[in-house]
Amino acid sequence: MSLQRGCSRSLSPRTTAVSASVFEDFKACISEEASCQTISEINLKPVEKQHEAIRNVFSVLCSRAEHVSNFVDAESIFGPDSRLVYKHFATLYFVLIFDSSENELAMLDLIQVFVETLDKCFRNVCELDIVFNYSKIHAILDEIIFGGQVLETSSTEVMKAVEEITKLEAASNAINLVSKSVSNWRSR
C-alpha cells in the first residue's frame, strides 16, 4: 500500500541497495488493519524504521550465496504476510517488498523492468549513476510503481514518460532565459 520510496543509500562503501517496497492491501479486514499499522509506523518514524529495515534486509541478503532463489522470508522484518524478492547485480541489490496479493515472479520481473529502464537511461547503469542521480531514480520509480501498485510494466513506456519530464525540465530551465511558454511540450 505504501511505497517506501527511493531508499537509495550507501549501506557500505561498496554496495548500494535500491529498495522500493510495496505494501499491498489484504483481503481480510483484520489483516488490513495490521498492514496499515506497519505502514503508519513506517510513516511516523520513517527515518529510524526505514533504516533499520534496510540494515536488516541488507545483512540477510549479504549472507546469501549465489545461485539461490530470489525469495527471502521477510516476516521478521516487515511483519506478517510480507514477502521479499531481490535481485543482485554486481554491487547493487534491488529489493521489493510486497504481500500475498502479488505474484512473486511477477515482482521479480518488475525488478528486471526497473533495471532495464535504468540501463536505457544511463547506458550501462552502475552504482554511481544511482547515487548521483537519485532524483532521476525517483522519477523512474514513480513511473513504475504508484501508491504501492504496479503502474507501468513496459520499459519503453516508462522511458517515454521520463524523457518527457527531462525535456520539460530542460525547457523550463531554459525558460528563465528564453520564453515563459510551457506549452511547447504539450503538442507532443
Partner: protein
C-alpha cells in the same frame, strides 16, 4: 543525460561519500542544513533552480537518516508555484517528507485539486502521484470524484488515466468509507474494453480491489476478464512494448487471473469453457527455458494459473495435472521455481484432497530440506509439516530429527516445535513418541520449550505400559557425559516417579539412579535443583529394603539445602527431610502422582489456532506467542510466594506457564494429625479437580492423604464471572455461617481514604488484612493486593473474584487457594480504563478459617480520579480552551445545593487531592475556583478538563459548577464525580491523618457513586 545536472548537489553527494566516518558525515550534513536554512530565510532571493537544488539536498539528507524538521512549509508552498520545476520539487518533497496526517497537507488541498481538474497534463500527473503516494483521508474526501472523472475521461492521455486509476485505488483502499464506488460496476466493465495495456493493467488492479470487497456487483466484469486473458494468451493484438521476453504482458495476465480468483465460481458454461481452454494452454505450454527472465515471466503466469485452477476446484483431471507439474518443478535446477513449487504444493494441500498424489514426491521434498537456500528449506519444512499424517509420520519426523543436527539456529526452534507436534499428532505408538521427544531434547535442548517436556511427562504418567520404557530411556540419556538441562529435568522427574519399575535391571538400583542424577546437580539451575530434591525424596521412598547409606547421603543433601537462600529449595529440603524421617508414613504421603485428566495438547491446540489465523502457520509466530505468555506467567510467579494454583483468568494459557517455583506443601503439613484434618477438608470441598494439570506436575510431589483429594482444591478458572460467582457461593457449606467475622475498621472509610492515596489498608478482620498499593500512569493502573494472614493457622479456600464495571479492564493474577500462617501474599492486578465512567469495581473475596466462612464484597479504589493527572495551566492557555468549548454537551453547568460548607482553601485542597489542580489567580473573583486536569482513558486518550466553581460567600451550602472538556461523557462524569465529592462528607482528608476507630461496616448508600445498571456498582451499594 542526468536529470538536471545540479552541480551543487553532485558536489554535496560526493562530499558525503568521501566522509571517512559517521562523525564527519554528520558535520557535513549539519553544515549543509545550516546553509539551506539561511538560504531559505530569504526565499525571495532564491531562483527556482536554487530552490530545487536545496530541496533535493534536503531530501538526500533525509534519506541518509537525518531529521529534517524545517522546510516543510517551503516544500508545500512550492506546489502552488506556476512553473514546472518548482512545482515538481514541491510535489516530490511533500510526498516524501510528510505523512498523511501532516497538517500542512490541508493547506495544499486546493492547489492539488486545481492541478487535477486543470488542463495541464504534467501537473495532473504530479498531483495524482502525490495523492496516490500519500492517500490521506482529507484528500479522499475532496479529490476522489475528480480523480474518478479523470479515469473515465476520453480526452485524457493514457499516461494520466492509468495514474488516475491507481490513485483512486489507493484512496479507496485507505478510506473505503469515503470513496463512493456505487454504480462503478458498469464503468469498470467499460474500462476493461480499454485497448491501451497500461491503462488496462491499472484498471485491473482497481478491479481486484473492488471485487475483493464485493464480488456480487461485478459479475458483469467476469466475462470481460476472460476475454482479456484469451487475447493475451493467444497473443492477439499485443503491442511490442508490452511483450516481455516474448510473453504478452505477464503482469496483466497475472492480475487478471487474480481478479478471477475473487469470484467464487464461473457459472456461465461458455465463459467457463473458454477460461479452461486458456488455463490448459498455459499449463501445457510452459517450459523451462534457458533465459532466466523469460523463465520467470512464463512461470509467473503459470503459477497464477495453478492458483486459479485450485480456486475453481476443477475436475480431478486438471488437479492431477497441476500436482504432477508441481512435482516436476520441485526438482528443476532453477531455485525460484523449486521454491514456488514447494510453496504451491503446501497451498494445494489446504485446498483440495490431493495428499496421496503429493506423497509420491515425498523423497524429493525431503531432499529439498537439504537445499543450500534457506528460503527453500523453510518451504520444504512447511510442506512436510502439512503433508504429514499417520502413514508417513515416522519417516518425516526421523528426517526432521536428522536435519535438526545440521540446521541453522534460525530454524531449529521451528523445527523442534514442528517435530514435537507431528510426533504427538501422528504417533503410531507411544514409545516412539517418547523416543522422539527425548531425542529432540537431546539434540536441541535450547530450542525445546517447556510445553514439550511437560507433555511427555503427562503421557508417561497416564500410560502405565509406557512407564518402564520411559524410565529406561531416561536412564540411558543420563549416561551421556554432557546433557542439556531440560534432559536433566525430564529424566529426574521420570526416574523419581517410575525409577522403581526398572530397579531390577542392571545399573538401575535406587542408589545408582541417585548417583547418576546427583552428578548433574552442580551444573543445573535452582529451579532444576528443586525438581532433583523431589526426585531424591521419591528415590528414598522407593528403596526397598532401605539403604542406610543412601538414606544418609540424601538426608545430608536435604540438610545442606535447609539453609538455601532460595525459599523454594529451602522449603522442599526442610519438608522432605522431616517427611523422610517418618519412616513408613512416608509411603502414604509420597504416593505416585495421579493420572492427569485427558486434555487436548496445548501444542496442537495452539498449532490449530494459528492455522485458523493464517493459512501457512509459522512456528516462529507460535513461539512468539508462547514467549509472551510465558513471560506473563513469570510476572505472576514472582509475586506469588505461596502456591502453584493457576491464575484465575488465563484459561488456556496455563500450559505455557513456567513451572511453579513455589510450594503448596503448606496445605499438607508434616504433622500427620494436621494432614488428616487436611484430607477431611478436601472432602468438604466438593470442587472439581483442577483443570491445570501442570501445576500438579510442577508442584512438589503429590503428598496426599486420601488419593481422591486433589493437590489443589482450586476451582477451575471460569471465564464467565457469573459462573465463578455462583461457584464461590456454592462452596459455602451448609451450616457454616457466612460473615460471622466482623471487620476491623470502617470499610467504607478505608475505601474513601484509598480514593485519594495510593496505598493503605482496604480491609481488615481478625484473620486477614488486605492492603492495596497502586501505581497509575495515564489510563493504566498497576495494583497489588497484599493478603496477609494474621494467624498461626492457614487460611483456606481463599477466593478473589473481580467484578469490574464495563469501563475497566481488569486482570487479577491468581490468588492462592491457601494463605500460609503469618504469611503475606501479593496479587498484582492490572487495570485499564477504557471509557470515562464513575462505576466502581468490586472484589468478591472469601476465605475460610476453621468453621468461619467469610465473604466480603469490597469496592476497589480504581475510581475516576485515579485516571486524572494534575496539570496546571496558565491564563493564556485556559481562556481560549474555555471559549472554544461552547456549551452542552461539552460544557455543563449546574447549581449544586446541599454542599458541605467548606472554606475555599479547604475546597481547593480537596480538589488537589483528586488530582484536579486549582489554578489560582485565573478567576478575578476571589470566591471562585478555576481548576484543570487531564483525564486518561483508552477511548479518549488524554483529555484536558477545565472546571470552574463559583461559590456564594453568603451561603456556603450552594455553588455553581461548570465543567468542560472535549468529550461529552468525560464532562458529564467528571461533573457528577465532583458533585459527589462536594455533597457527601469526604472522610478522606480526615482518614489521611487519623485512622478511624474500629466499627462495624456502615452502609452509606450516598457514598456509593454507582449507576444502578452496573452489577459491580449494585454490589458496592449493598455494602
Amino acid at each position: 543525460m542526468a536529470l538536471s545536472g545540479m552541480r551543487g548537489l553532485s558536489v554535496f553527494i560526493s562530499d558525503i561519500r568521501n566522509c571517512q566516518n559517521k562523525e564527519q558525515e554528520r558535520l557535513r550534513v549539519d553544515k549543509e542544513l545550516g546553509n539551506i536554512r539561511t538560504r531559505f530565510k530569504n526565499e525571495k532571493a532564491l531562483t527556482p533552480y536554487e530552490k530545487k537544488k536545496y530541496v533535493w539536498k534536503m531530501l538526500y539528507i533525509y534519506m541518509l537518516g537525518y531529521d529534517v524538521d524545517f522546510g516543510h512549509m517551503e516544500a508545500v508552498s512550492l506546489i502552488s508555484a506556476p512553473k514546472y520545476p518548482e512545482k515538481q520539487v514541491g510535489y516530490i518533497v511533500t510526498s516524501s517528507l510528510l505523512n498523511e496526517n501532516h497538517d500542512f497537507l490541508r493547506l495544499a488541498i486546493n492547489t492539488v485539486r486545481n492541478d487535477i481538474i486543470g488542463r495541464n497534463e504534467t501537473f495532473q500527473c504530479l498531483a495524482l502521484t502525490m495523492v496516490g503516494n500519500i492517500g490521506g483521508r482529507e484528500f479522499a474526501e475532496s479529490l476522489a470524484p475528480d480523480v474518478q472523472k479523470l479515469l473515465i475521461s476520453s480526452s485524457c492521455r493514457p499516461l494520466v488515466r492509468k495514474k488516475a486509476a491507481l490513485c483512486l485505488l489507493r484512496l479507496y483502499r485507505k478510506n473505503p468509507d469515503v470513496v463512493n464506488v456505487d454504480g462503478w460496476a458498469d464503468r469498470m466493465a467499460q474500462l476493461l474494453d480499454e485497448r491501451d495495456l497500461g491503462v488496462l493493467t491499472s484498471s485491473m488492479s482497481l478491479l481486484v480491489a473492488l471485487v475483493s470487497n464485493n464480488h456480487e456487483a461485478y459479475w458483469s466484469c467476469l466475462p470481460k476478464c476472460v476475454k482479456i486473458l484469451e487475447r493475451l494468451a493467444r497473443n492477439q493484438d499485443i503491442p511490442q512494448e508490452y511483450t516481455y521476453y516474448g510473453i504478452p504482458s505477464p503482469w496483466l495476465q497475472v492480475k487478471t487471473m487474480r481478479a478471477l480468483q475473487y469470484f467464487p465460481t464461473v457459472e456461465d458454461p461458455n465463459t467457463r469453457r473458454s477460461l479452461f481452454e486458456v488455463l490448459q494452454r498455459i499449463l501445457m505450454g510452459t517450459d523451462v527455458v534457458k533465459n532466466v527472465n523469460k523463465n520467470n515471466a512464463s512461470h509467473a503466469v503459470l503459477f497464477e494459473a495453478l492458483a486459479l485452477v485450485m480456486h475453481l476446484d476443477a475436475e480431478k483431471e486438471m488437479m492431477t495435472q497441476c500436482v504432477s507439474l508441481l512435482g516436476k518443478f520441485i526438482s528443476v535446477r532453477e531455485p525460484n521455481i523449486r521454491y514456488l513449487g514447494l510453496e504451491n504444493m503446501t497451498r494445494m494441500l489446504m485446498v483440495t484432497d490431493v495428499q496421496d498424489i503429493i506423497k509420491k514426491h515425498q523423497a524429493q521434498i525431503i531432499t529439498s530440506l537439504k537445499d543450500p537456500d534457506i528460503s527453500i528449506r523453510r518451504r520444504a519444512l512447511d510442506l512436510l509439516y502439512g503433508m504429514c499424517d499417520i502413514s508417513n509420520a515416522k519417516d518425516i519426523v526421523e528426517e526432521l530429527l536428522q536435519y535438526l543436527k545440521t540446521a541453522e539456529f534460525a530454524m531449529r526452534e521451528e523445527l523442534s516445535l514442528k517435530a514435537a507436534i507431528l510426533a504427538e499428532k501422528f504417533a503410531p505408538d507411544l514409545s516412539w513418541y517418547v523416543d522422539v521427544i527425548l531425542q529432540l531434547i537431546d539434540k536441541a535442548g535450547d530450542f525445546v520449550s517447556d510445553d514439550i517436556w511437560f507433555r511427555v511427562v503427562q503421557f508417561v504418567t497416564n500410560n502405565e505400559d509406557l512407564q518402564p520404557y520411559a524410565a529406561a530411556k531416561a536412564r540411558e540419556y543420563l549416561d551421556k557425559p554432557a546433557i542439556h538441562e531440560t534432559m536433566v529435568k525430564v529424566s529426574a522427574y521420570i526416574l523419581g516417579e517410575f525409577g522403581h519399575l526398572i530397579a531390577r535391571r542392571p545399573g538401575c538400583s535406587p542408589k545408582e539412579l541417585f548417583n547418576l542424577i546427583h552428578e548433574k546437580l552442580p551444573t543445573v539451575s535452582t529451579y532444576t535443583v528443586s525438581i532433583l530434591l523431589s526426585t531424591y525424596a521419591k528415590i528414598l521412598m522407593h528403596s526397598h529394603p532401605p539403604d542406610p547409606e543412601l538414606q544418609n547421603q540424601i538426608w545430608s543433601i536435604f540438610k545442606k539445602y535447609e539453609s538455601s537462600i532460595e525459599v523454594e529449595i529451602q522449603q522442599r529440603a526442610v519438608e522432605y527431610y522431616a517427611l523422610s524421617r517418618k519412616g513408613e508414613a512416608l509411603m502414604d504421603i509420597l504416593a505416585e502422582m495421579p493420572k492427569f485428566p485427558e486434555r487436548q495438547s496445548a501444542l496442537i491446540k495452539k498449532a490449530e489456532d494459528t492455522e485458523v489465523d493464517t493459512a501457512e502457520q509459522s512456528a516462529i509466530k507460535l513461539r512468539a506467542q508462547q514467549q509472551a505468555q510465558t513471560s506473563n506467567a513469570l510476572v505472576v510467579q514472582d509475586q506469588r510466594p505461596a502456591n502453584g494454583a493457576p491464575p484465575l483468568s488465563v484459561g488456556q494459557l496455563n500450559l505455557v506457564k513456567m513451572p511453579s517455583m513455589s510450594s503448596n506443601v503448606d496445605d499438607y503439613p508434616a504433622d500427620p494429625r494436621l494432614s488428616q484434618e487436611n484430607g477431611a477438608l478436601a472432602t468438604v470441598n466438593s470442587q472439581p479437580p483442577p483443570a491445570d494439570i501442570l501445576s500438579d506436575l510442577l508442584g512438589p510431589l503429590a503428598i496426599e492423604g486420601p488419593p481422591s483429594s486433589s493437590v489443589h482444591p482450586q476451582p477451575s478458572p471460569t471465564s464467565e464471572l457469573e459462573g465463578t460467582a455462583v461457584e464461590s457461593t456454592a462452596i459455602v457449606p451448609a451450616g457454616v455461617q457466612a460473615n460471622s467475622v466482623q471487620p476491623i475498621g470502617n470499610i467504607s472509610e478505608r475505601f474513601q481514604a484509598l480514593c485519594v492515596k495510593d496505598s493503605g489498608v482496604l480491609y481488615e478482620d481478625p484473620y486477614i488484612q488486605i492492603g492495596v498499593k497502586a501505581e497509575w500512569r495515564a489510563h493504566h493502573g498497576h495494583m497489588v493486593l497484599f493478603l496477609g494472614n494474621k494467624n498461626t493457622a492457614p487460611l483456606v479456600s481463599v477466593q478473589a473474584i473481580m467484578l469490574p464495571p464495563t469501563h475497566l479492564k481488569m486482570e487479577l493474577s491468581l490468588v492462592p487457594e491457601t494463605i500460609p500462617p503469618r504469611a503475606q501474599v501479593q496479587c498484582p492486578l492490572e487495570v485499564i480504563n477504557l471509557r470515562p465512567s464513575r462505576d466502581v469495581s468490586v472484589l468478591d473475596f472469601s476465605y475460610k478459617f476453621g468453621n468461619d466462612m467469610v465473604n466480603v464484597k469490597l469496592r476497589l479504589p480504581a475510581v475516576l480520579n485515579k485516571f486524572l493527572q494534575p496539570i496546571s495551566i496558565s491564563a493564556e492557555e485556559f481562556f481560549p480552551q474555555w471559549r472554544s468549548l461552547p456549551g452542552p454537551p461539552l460544557k455543563l453547568q449546574e447549581v449544586v445545593r446541599g454542599v458541605r460548607p467548606l472554606p475555599l482553601i479547604e475546597m481547593a485542597n480537596l480538589f488537589n487531592s483528586f488530582h484536579v489542580t486549582v489554578c489560582p489567580g485565573l478567576d478575578p473573583n476571589p470566591n471562585n475556583l478555576v481548576a484543570s486536569t487531564t483525564f486518561y482513558s483508552e477511548s479518549t486518550r488524554a483529555m484536558l478538563c477545565l472546571i470552574r466553581i463559583e461559590t456564594d460567600p453568603a451561603d456556603r451550602t450552594q455553588l455553581r459548577m461548570t465543567v468542560a472538556s472535549g468529550d461529552p461523557t468525560v464532562t458529564f462524569e467528571l461533573k457528577e464525580f465532583i458533585k459527589e465529592q462536594l455533597i457527601i462528607i469526604p472522610t478522606a482528608t480526615r482518614v489521611l491523618t487519623q485512622p478511624p476507630p474500629p466499627t462495624p461496616p456502615v452502609v452509606q448508600p450516598t457514598s456509593a457513586p454507582a449507576a444502578p445498571t452496573d452489577p459491580g456498582a449494585l454490589l458496592a451499594a449493598l455494602l
